[in-house]
């Protein structure tokens, strides 16, 4: 799946340790050691951004384990993708966003 070069470069500025893979025809960006919003535990985490619609969401952000901090999140995305187990909380985003916008909207879900 192709993304505009500018969108990828913009994401790289925010997430320098960036890599990419596909599975099932869907694109995934792996971001290592991404700082989480204040109050989160762990404070830094790898994340996997699915930058295309899946499971009824416009995009999805996966974590290696539940991020403690904000109460009331519905961690309903317990699944295996790209050879590893991930979890995700239910968080709707609008379509038509750039990669970094997708990432930021999902991370906002963790802010108290």
């Amino acid at each position: 799946m192709k993304f505009p070069e500018t969108h990828v470069e913009e994401l790289k500025k925010v997430a320098p340790d960036l890599s990419y893979a596909e599975e099932g025809g869907l694109p995934y960006f792996l971001i290592k050691n991404l700082p989480m919003p204040d109050g989160c535990n762990p404070a830094v985490s790898d994340v996997l951004l699915c930058a295309a619609p899946r499971d009824g969401y416009e995009s999805r952000l996966f974590f290696p384990k539940i991020i403690a901090g904000k109460a009331g999140l519905n961690w309903n995305g317990n699944l295996r993708v790209l050879d590893r187990n991930w979890v995700a909380f239910s968080w709707r985003t609008a379509g038509g966003k750039t990669l970094v916008e997708m990432l930021m909207v999902h991370l906002n879900g963790l802010r108290k």
Binding site: V8, K12, L18, S19, Y20, A21, E22, E23, G24, G25, F29, L30, P53, R54, D55, G56, Y57, N74, N76, G77, L79, R80, V81, L82, D83, R84, N85, S90
Partner: protein, 445 residues
Amino acid sequence: MKRKKQYIKMKIPASIREAMLTDLRRPHAWAFERVGFLYTKSKVLKDGTTLILATGYTPVDDDDYIQDNSVGARINTDSIRKAMQEIFDKKCGCFHVHLHNHSGKPGPSSTDLAGLPGVAKSFSNISGSQLNGYLILSENSFYAQVWHTDKKTFLSPFQVSVIGYPLELHFDEKLQEIISGVYKRQSFLGKFSSQQLKHARVCIVGYGGGGSHIGQQLAHVGLFNTVIYDGDKIEDSNMNRLIGGWFADIKKALAKTAIAKRVIKKILPKANTITIDSRWQADPEWLQGCDVVVGCVDTYAERQQLEAECRRYLIPYIDIGMDVFAAEDGGFEMPGQVILTMPGTTCLHCFGFLTEEKLGKEAALYGAVGGNPQVVWPNGVLASTAVGIIVDLITGWSGKQQASIYLAYDGRSGLIEQHIRARFAPQECTHYPIELAGPVSFQKI
């Protein structure tokens, strides 16, 4: 349970084997033989099995052969350098490949033994932990040697499989016809079927109404090796369909996997049954080492994940399931499916069985999808059909060659027939390209 000695399992998709044979049979202007490179991804599983998964093949360019009438083929350093570049770029392993154009198991010539080990060792200098070696094809068999960097020796794979329908399972032991009174009524499965069923390994995910039929039937047919995942214990609501479940098990809250082991052991005392009391995702390596996986699960999400894992590890995936809902005429409809998807060919997405819409609707229920009606007889029909496909995959008894299967079951009429989608689905899968098989490697941006 760790394997006692080095156990290497090599898997080659049928499309790649076909491509290799087609290429290697082409005449060259002066070389008597052709050479190519088979790219692979390897992984050592926790039970000691080493998996080597073929993901691509590249022929040596015509111009990279050196004219030398004393040998079948001599290739130049450019061809080796190109292969090494591929290994470096793709973080993969590589096998030097050529063809001995006869049938039966090939063996290395003195020229092969003199030249090929050095090529494999040189690849190991840049491939990191990925394994390398050399492979000699014949019309219908293989000779493979894998360079083990730590042991500083070449090892033979115990199993080389061609992943097609049927599976071609080649074992590093003499073909033997096992004559047994127990299996004399199934001799039509083939002279060597007992040997094939002795070594093949089948994974059953979900040991409920469907999986329990499959476990029992595979034991009856003489399949020795099963891996069974189920994290549940038997409850009273399972008793209408859990094959092998006893009423006394409910009070004991017996694990379904314990019931599986009991049933299989009573039929086939020497069976090797590995049971895991959890979701397969919690301990996936047992599944990764299997030859066939059957999914007897409840949700589209589980099916999607199972198929993705099977595609990654080049494993044929069989899915069974059923449902019951109110019909317009006041009765009930009872649809079901048995679907086989093979690596490289039509997947559940290609068939339209899995769609983003279905996965989205299911996710919106937040996991409250269980409790669908289930009864023993349609489970039996679907499970038995799946067992027939498994046995055909392993033994090839039917003589059929097909890429995938999609059967629709109508419980009201009792009919099971090809689903109309099977006629129109694309043969080649774009969702899971073969070149992406193997342990994942992310591309740095």
